[in-house]
């Protein structure tokens, strides 16, 4: 499968994760989110930006419990809890948010 942004085709793997991480743009994130049925709000963006920063620093996408713990620390318990994070990203905050953030699937995710 692939996504289209401004007439340009962006390649992905069979699950919809982009194959070249440097293809990512905020516009592409909106396109992926739409394909996932997610409407991007400020909270969604905060999580996506957090994931991108984490990947930039550590070269991995964090496991979901590490993600939620870190979000809790940086943004407070009203955002950093399981229930709210699954409301934002119904198919899994790590899995789905990573896809929108243009990162590989978190290590250990099946």
């Amino acid at each position: 499968m692939s996504y289209e942004v401004d007439g340009q085709e962006i390649a992905t793997d069979e699950e919809g994760y982009i194959t070249d991480l440097s293809d990512w743009t905020p516009e592409l994130a909106e396109v992926i989110a739409k394909a996932e049925g997610v409407e991007m709000t400020d909270e969604h963006w905060a999580v996506v930006n957090f994931l991108r920063d984490y990947y930039e620093e550590y070269q991995i996408a964090p496991a979901v419990r590490v993600l939620i713990k870190s979000i809790k620390k940086s943004m407070g318990p009203e955002v950093g809890n399981n229930k709210y994070m699954y409301e934002l990203f119904p198919y899994g905050p790590a899995k789905q948010a990573c896809k929108i953030a243009g990162l590989p699937k978190p290590t250990g995710c099946v």
Binding site: E57, Q59, S70, G108
Partner: protein, 136 residues
């Protein structure tokens, strides 16, 4: 010790690049960290090169995964034993290793070093105290 919690030691003996062992070991550690066990890592022989700072893999066309060691604290992996003799034999010192820290939840999130330099005989004691040892 809590019920069902075992002490796991992952032993790293190989250089970071050239074989897949080092990267695979790190992935196993990250995945295994989800099971709430008591996890430590040991670095000896050429494995000590895995922790050196300022790694640059551009010319060999593989990903530099050394920054990932700094994420281990988030996964509650906070004990990285490095054998002093292995460093000495390779002309390395503790200063050649990257700084790796974790935040101690029980001590008001104080930042503490994860790397523990041990002698060969201390490393033997570390190994003797484990329930499970996985060698890479």
């Amino acid at each position: 010790m809590e019920d069902g919690v075992k002490k796991f030691l992952y032993v790293n003996r190989k250089a970071p690049y050239g074989t897949i062992y080092a990267l695979e070991a790190l992935e196993v550690v990250l995945i295994g960290a989800a099971f709430d066990q008591d996890v430590s890592l040991a670095f000896l022989d050429d494995g000590v090169f895995q922790l050196t700072k300022a790694q640059d893999t551009k010319e060999i066309g593989v990903k530099n995964f050394s920054p990932t060691f700094r994420a281990l604290g988030d996964y509650e992996v906070t004990k990285l034993y490095v054998e002093k003799e292995s460093l000495d034999e390779r002309g390395l010192t503790a200063d050649d290793l990257q700084e790796i820290t974790y935040e101690d939840e029980d001590d008001d999130w104080a930042e503490k070093p994860s790397i523990i330099i041990v002698s060969r005989s201390e490393m033997a004691d570390v190994m003797a105290g484990q329930d499970v040892i996985l060698s890479f």
